[in-house]
């Protein structure tokens, strides 16, 4: 059995050697070249000369030794939950794939077939990890940039320190073990990389993972926070974009609330969170009269009109007076703001109508076989201006919105004109065809008469 211990008493071997620190940093069953590399990294800290000899012995032994036995799974693959971990399940785990074994977290001697020896305290066996210890255990590797670099140089190593600042982390430190720890979100024994669609922390699955606790009214009863977030989010435009349309840039819980540093955003932070994606809307809002009014009334910015978890697809009806209207929740009918609202809505409706009208003419022209692809492409520009106008609405300044509306109207009118010209051209062609067919008919008649004449 290859064994090598460095100055820090960190075990890097194909087997397991107990150590004095609370958690072994790493045990690997990787190929010998990786081990040599890892050994060299550690050797720099412990002194090259002193480490060279054991490293060589280790390398030779590991080359001769082949795959080391992991006796843990012999029993645990046959045990029922919560002690059961199958070989198939564990082989999916990213840690297992990177060479870590059960002993890396749980300690013990996986090379021994004797359960008493394998799970002896003498061999460093820790048994089931206490929930309170889990963040520290994970952090023992994940907070070590030097160590993590060899697996994934781009992976952050501030998860533990972030976690400690979160509500989850603070409550755990205060002794509340119901709060989420690493394994609750990331799973355990079958932990996959977040990029894996089957991972519990893949963007598509994050909301479901959070909902395990946050949608469980009984579990959350002591915390006095709502448990309808997931139900609301599932109906939202963000959920639709992420899960239905597969747009991985669409937000899920952690996009707004953070992940390891999870903390409910304060009222004044909401627009900061939204503005991460909705940059222009935020810029417009910052300069608007509503910003000052909302701040003065301690209203939380964006969510006042748009809601939070259940954000629906925004329509121009928000500016109206119907059931989806939001302005009239605060403003009185007939006041200056109501008149401004009506003006803005009228602008948007006018441009939307102009675009639809041009679309219709162009569609008829295209279905008549007329080549109007350029004008139809131009319609996208008009639609862009409409989108921009809808963004500019957040400034609540009619003169700014008007600029976008006028630009869009100009393009829509040009495209509509192109459509009308195409239709006129179609009619011109048909008249030309009729004249040509009459001429052909006359020639045919003349030919027929001439043939009759020469054959009679």
């Amino acid at each position: 059995m290859a064994i090598w211990r460095n100055r820090k008493n960190i075990v890097i071997s194909r087997g397991f050697i107990p150590e004095k620190s609370a958690f072994p940093l790493a045990q690997r069953t990787a190929d010998s070249s990786s081990l040599a590399l890892l050994g060299m990294t550690r050797m720099r800290s412990s002194g090259l000369r002193r480490s060279l000899c054991p490293a060589l012995i280790f390398l030779l032994c590991s080359l001769a030794g082949g795959q080391t036995k992991n006796s843990c799974l012999d029993c645990h693959s046959a045990l029922p939950d919560p002690l059961g971990v199958t070989q198939d399940q564990f082989s999916q785990d990213i840690h297992a794939q990177k060479g870590l074994t059960c002993a890396s977290c749980h300690g013990g001697d996986p090379t021994s077939d004797d359960p008493d020896k394998a799970m002896s305290r003498k061999a460093g066996w820790k048994g089931k990890i206490d929930r309170k210890q889990i963040p520290e255990l994970c952090g023992s590797c994940h907070s070590d940039p030097g160590f993590m670099r060899q697996y994934n140089p781009s992976l952050r190593t501030d998860q533990l320190s972030q976690y400690k600042t979160s509500v989850h982390g603070k409550r755990l430190a205060a002794g509340d073990t119901k709060v989420a720890v690493c394994t609750d979100c990331h799973s355990v024994h079958d932990l996959r990389a977040p990029s894996d669609p089957r991972s519990t922390v893949n963007p598509v699955n994050v909301a479901t993972t959070c909902a395990h606790c946050h949608a469980d009214a009984a579990y959350m009863s002591g915390y006095k926070i709502p448990t309808n977030q997931f139900a609301e989010y599932s109906k939202s435009v963000h959920h639709d974009a992420l899960v239905v349309r597969g747009d991985l840039s669409a937000p899920t819980c952690t996009t707004c609330h953070g992940n390891h540093g999870a903390a409910p955003p304060g009222v004044d932070k909401v627009q900061n969170v939204c503005s991460n994606c909705h940059v222009f809307q935020a810029q417009m809002y910052e300069k608007s009269s509503h910003k000052k009014a909302f701040d003065a009334a301690s209203l939380p910015g964006c969510v006042v009109c748009h809601g939070n978890h259940g954000i629906s697809h925004p329509t121009d009806a928000k500016l109206g007076t119907g059931p989806d209207a939001v302005c009239m929740r605060c403003h009185a009918p007939g006041d200056a703001c109501d008149r401004a609202r009506a003006g803005l809505l009228s602008d948007l409706t006018r441009l939307d109508g102009a675009i639809q009208s041009a679309d219709q003419v162009l569609a008829v022209a295209a279905s008549s076989g007329m080549e109007v692809s350029e004008a139809r492409l131009g319609q996208d520009q008009a639609r862009d201006w409409l989108t921009k106008a809808r963004v500019t609405i957040h400034s609540f300044r009619k003169e700014l919105v008007d600029q976008d509306i006028q630009a869009g109207l100009k393009i829509a009118a040009k495209n509509q004109q192109a459509g009308k010209q195409a239709m006129a051209e179609r009619n011109y062609r048909r008249i030309g065809l009729a004249i040509a067919l009459i001429a052909i008919g006359l020639v045919l008649l003349g030919l027929r008469l001439y043939i009759k004449q020469i054959e009679s």
Partner: protein, 361 residues
Amino acid sequence: MGFLHNLRDWLNDRIEWDDLIAPLREKTVPKHRLSYWYFLGGITLFLFIIQVLTGILLLLYYRPGENSAFESVQYIMTQVKFGWLIRSVHSWSANLMIFTAFAHMFSVLFLKAYRKPRELTWVSGVILLLLVMGFGFSGYLLPWNTLAFFATKVGTEITGQVPVIGRPMLIFLRGGEEVTGATLTRFFGFHVAVLPGIATMLIALHLLLVQRQGISVPPNVELAWKANPSAQRETKFFPNFLLRELMAWYVALGVLGALAAIFPWNLGTKADPFSPAPAGIKPEWYFLFMFQTLKLIPPKVWLIDGEVLGVVGFGLVALLWLLLPFFESSDPSRTKRWITGVGVFALAYIAGMSVYGHLAK
């Protein structure tokens, strides 16, 4: 009329015009209840002439190239005066020409006009039909739109299935491993230079053979005329038949104009080699029966690859089709009925598979 007489005299003095056209004056065309089938070859020729003329006009503006082909056709369709008409007539005429060429071939088959001594006329005609399909395949890519791009990709891939020479043929056709701008310029060359050159020579040969051998009479009419020589009817080629042919050409012109004006040929969207192929993509209708057959053949037939089997099978059928006259008897009373049966089966198969391919998802 005085001017025409003077011109005729002027030509007679120099090139003996009357002697030159004397064979045409003497030439006759048999007249019977099936005579109207004789017009199909002439209509195909007329459509070919239309192709040449409109093709030359399109060449004034068309620019082959990945970044210019689509744009230039779009320019022709929208900016060039009557460009839409020329391009639509070119596209419709191409399709009508392939249709009339097929119809002409089957009419010749069913009227047994390929019998001795007209075997070479048949052979040149079948090769011309293949060339016409080659015109269709190469011309289809030239606007460089999405459908054309993927149809060419699939079409050249099928060519690549030919044993031994398939792969080199694929590379030759594409100008590399993939369908790129190199394929476009290559197809352009085939379409406007190579194929027209060969086709023109073959058409000249085909017409020469028709003139040399005269017009065939169907066996049953031939037998009836032999039994009753007084029933034999014929019409003068010039001007009687030619004027009737001219009427057929005018009708074809009217149909072409109507199709072009009412259903201008669609341009589609510009080809994007990085986008996925549109769902349910199909080749042009004249390749549909072959495409559908290849789709129906299982991936493996015994140990042979299904697609290879299909491609080789079509090659063998085309060869046998080409040699069909050599299995026929020249005696009108002993014509082979099985050949007519094969013709009926082929027509039903092509029509059935084309409809099936059109309706299939």
